[in-house]
């Protein structure tokens, strides 16, 4: 087990073939990985936590649960609400912060506060030649040189193996309320969420699950009460909402939304990012699917029904995304499907050339997570 950045650098420099970078191994997304395992779980521990500066630095293999526990003791959290893939994917293992960053994994609150990439202040990584590189730091504003922090976030380990990440953390909210509107179809639900997000009332979750539209408001108690009342007045034309105020009930609801647990028993699941106004039209005419929405309708979770033609659906989704703008990603599927289709939205040639060029610079031998994304 590698326990230091130096170990990782040496392992990569000495590698003679492809390496699979593994955090907790809970998220087998992308083409089935090839090569020898390069586990990062031994590279673990929070190295700096300054609650007064809202900053936390951790080694890449640190369990997300350990970070959440340390933060909770100071009444803080990772505001971008990273998804735990285990239920959906049927995997076990321990999700790590490095893998969250590598996948730019963000949950429902992304619509209000930003994605993982927006909270990532700095990285250390080992590139494909075994060279250690750092970028960014641990301050809130930093324009010193190029922002490789963002480039590494969401690169799925194809440009380097992350060894340390520095994150902006946020205080927890005093309280929250969730409004539930029942019986809206996709178009009505998106209209409702767009109306809610277009108010000054700072909605921090806007999702549609199993036919229910959910809106979350968080903050100080007086403020939440005020905004809940005002928001419902503005949304009166969409019907009456049920007010969910119990903390545990809300936590269960939003954790399930975040982790896409409704589709845990489905064999094939996709994730689509698009403009909310395109959501309703996007799924029209594609048979054999069920759809949940997040991010005010800008994120679709799509599951194949039993007996559907997975490959045909996959191509329909990526074709539709190419046409409307946006991208469709295969998140869960049997190995045969994952091997047969492009997991990530294919890029137009000029963009693909830039991607390929960056990969060639950061991993000239093409050995890191080969085929996963690039």
């Amino acid at each position: 087990m590698h326990t230091t950045e130096d170990d990782i650098a040496q392992a990569i420099a000495a590698a003679s073939g492809p390496l699979q970078i593994i955090g907790g191994g809970t998220r087998p997304v992308g083409q089935p990985a090839v090569g020898e395992a390069l586990p990062l779980a031994g590279l673990s521990g929070v190295t700096l936590y300054e609650p007064g500066a809202l900053t936390l630095v951790a080694k890449a293999g640190t369990p997300v649960s350990e970070i959440e526990k340390i933060l909770a003791a100071e009444n803080q959290r990772l505001a971008f609400e990273p998804m735990d893939f285990r239920t959906l994917m049927g995997t076990d293992g321990t999700p790590t912060i490095g893998a969250v960053v590598a996948g730019n994994v963000s949950g429902p609150r992304r619509i209000a506060v930003g994605a993982c990439r927006d909270f990532l202040l700095g990285v250390r990584f080992v590139d494909g030649s075994g060279q250690v590189v750092k970028n960014g730091g641990r301050v809130m504003k930093n324009v010193t040189g190029y922002d490789l922090v963002k480039l590494m976030c969401g690169a799925y380990g194809t440009l380097g193996a992350l060894t340390e990440v520095s994150l902006k953390v946020m205080p927890m909210d005093e309280t929250s309320t969730t409004l539930r509107y029942a019986g809206q179809d996709v178009a009505q639900s998106v209209a409702l969420m767009s109306a809610a997000l277009g108010t000054p009332f700072e909605v921090t979750g806007a999702a549609r699950k199993n036919g229910d539209t959910l809106l979350r408001l968080e903050g100080f108690a007086g403020s939440v009460a005020y905004r809940v009342a005002e928001l419902q007045k503005r949304l009166a034309s969409f019907g009456t909402a049920e007010e969910i105020t119990d903390a545990k009930a809300q936590n269960d609801l939003w954790t399930a939304q975040r982790d896409v647990t409704r589709f845990a028993d489905r064999a094939v699941v996709w994730r689509v990012s698009l403009r909310p106004s395109h959501a309703a039209g996007f799924v029209e005419g594609i048979d054999g699917i069920d759809v949940d929405l997040d991010w005010g309708g800008g994120l679709l979770w799509i599951a194949a029904q039993d007996g559907a033609d997975h490959e045909a659906i996959h191509h329909s989704l990526q074709d539709a995304a190419a046409k409307t703008g946006g991208h469709a990603t295969l998140i869960k599927g049997p190995d045969a499907l994952r091997a047969a289709v492009p997991t990530f939205q294919p890029q137009e040639p000029n963009l693909a050339a830039i991607t390929k060029g960056l990969r060639a610079k950061f991993d000239p031998r093409g050995i890191l997570n080969t085929g996963v994304m690039i």
Partner: protein, 481 residues
């Protein structure tokens, strides 16, 4: 400030180059008369000047691509320019470079309140983006203090911030898509109206790349509904430590003010003399602004006042109405102008962890005494983004050099305390040669590798960001990209 020797062979070909550019642009879009190119000789870092070979003002993405293709073929460097308000020399030309100005690209292309986005051409000014949506209650959040003049293209190039980014983030957090023209004229679309552009986060690395990876001609930006209201509170403290602790405690408490601004005694005194805003004459002053309905503002300010009380403030003045709010902001907003009236100054923008503010301020005070130059501090305290203003006299021989030497010490200090050289102004030419204090050669090599991919010949704004010695081989074409 060293700049590379201009390529004499390019200067010798000026008339041919101008002719080629005139063949792809309207005649009035190519500026080559020496009396007129002088308008482009510097940006907001006005201590350094150099007229360009010529300047072009294309009106469309296609015209930008045509210009780039010509310059690429002829091996001529291109320096992109937004509105020229950069404080770091990001848009400063060299004598062998073509300035590509985006001033004629200023249309709004699409607005969608349902998707909460606006798509604009990149020459549009920051404030006029908000101007296009404010009658419908929306705004574009990043608000650099030059927002009346600065262009979105420059905001993206420098990843600009502003006073309100504590709550709303900087440019990169509000940018969803761009049309980018590469040095060889290739046009690429990255991202769009959806969140998190697909594939590698190219948008993230383009934003803040100081015009070295491509020319952004169009941008999709996130817009938000305006808050119901806002109210500032002014607090005076007897020490930097007390004010610094107050800032850190507020941030920790879960209140998210839109702005926490800090002024030290020197700035308070100068601003009082200039604007008469009624500030208390004390060691440190904070202006904290919160947003929401009147009741929500009361709730937040109650939390803030409780926290501040623990640091024994000598003044605590909450704005009772718009006029009082205006007076609280008056001094802060006139700070730079007021300082400029008493002397020339250099404005740095190193950023430090918020909890280190008191230590860094104390050390800046010591350095100021050692170097014999006054330093005033007025800055965005909530995110640790300092703005030390070093006062000097441009007419005193040697003063600029002394000022730069002190500036260098202050920026090293920021790095030493876990911070960075620049929080929102950019590296440009100003901090280029300090990059090795923050980054190792391998770190810079990785950054330069990105430029190698986008601009293999290093023709786009080549003498910026990286120490000249570090980028020399690439700029001279001696390193195969």
């Amino acid at each position: 400030m060293d700049m590379p020797t201009p390529d004499a062979s390019i200067i010798a070909r000026k008339s041919t180059i101008v002719e080629r550019l005139q063949s792809v642009l309207p005649h009035d879009a190519v500026i080559h008369d020496e009396r007129e190119t002088r308008a482009y000789e510097c940006d907001g870092l006005a201590a350094y000047k150099c007229p360009p070979l010529c300047a072009v003002l294309p009106s469309s993405t296609q015209e930008v691509a045509a210009v780039m293709k010509v310059c690429h073929e002829m091996g001529v460097p291109v320096v992109p320019r937004g509105s020229g308000t950069s404080l770091a020399g990001g848009a400063m030309p060299t004598a062998d470079a073509v300035i590509l100005g985006v001033a004629r690209l200023n249309d709004v292309l699409e607005t969608s309140y349902e998707d909460r986005i606006i798509r604009v051409q990149s020459g549009r000014t920051n404030l006029s983006v908000t101007g296009a949506v404010e009658t419908d209650g929306f705004f574009y959040a990043p608000d650099p203090s030059s927002q009346l003049a600065c262009a979105i293209a420059g905001n993206i190039a420098m990843n600009s911030g502003g006073a309100h980014c504590l709550k709303y983030g900087v440019t990169t957090n509000n940018l969803l898509g761009v049309t980018l023209v590469q040095m060889d004229g290739t046009i690429v679309e990255i991202g769009g109206g959806h969140l998190d552009a697909g594939g590698l986060d190219l948008l993230g690395v383009i934003c803040g790349s100081e015009g070295q990876l491509g020319v952004v001609t169009e941008a999709t930006l996130r817009i938000l509904h305006k808050p119901e209201g806002a109210r500032p509170i002014l607090m005076g403290f007897d020490s930097a430590e007390a004010a610094g602790t107050c800032v850190s405690d507020i941030i920790k408490a879960g209140v998210l003010p839109v702005a926490i601004e800090y002024m030290d005694r020197m700035c308070i005194e100068v601003c009082e003399a200039h604007a008469g805003a009624g500030y208390p004459l004390c060691e440190a002053l904070l202006i904290i602004e919160v947003e929401g309905s009147p009741a929500e503002i009361d709730e937040q300010l109650a939390v803030i006042k409780d926290i501040a009380a623990k640091q024994n403030p000598n003044t605590m003045r909450e704005a009772a109405n718009a006029e009082e709010a205006g007076r609280i902001w008056l001094g802060r907003k006139s700070a730079f102008g007021a300082m400029g009236q008493i002397n020339d100054y250099m404005c740095l923008d190193g950023t430090v962890p918020v909890n280190e503010l008191p230590n860094v301020l104390r050390r800046i005070g010591e350095l100021s005494k050692e170097h014999g130059l006054d330093v005033g501090n007025v800055f965005h305290a909530g995110d640790g983004n300092m703005h030390p203003l070093i006062l000097y006299n441009a007419n005193t021989p040697g003063d600029l050099e002394r000022c730069e030497a002190l500036g260098e010490e202050i920026l090293k200090l920021c790095v030493e305390y876990g911070g960075c050289l620049t929080g929102e102004h950019g590296v440009g030419i100003e901090k280029r040669d300090l990059m090795l204090y923050q980054y190792d050669p391998a770190d810079l090599e990785a950054q330069m590798a990105v430029k190698d991919v986008f601009d293999p010949a290093w023709l786009l704004n080549p003498s910026k960001v990286f120490p000249l010695a570090t980028s020399a081989a690439r700029r001279d074409g001696k390193q195969a990209a």
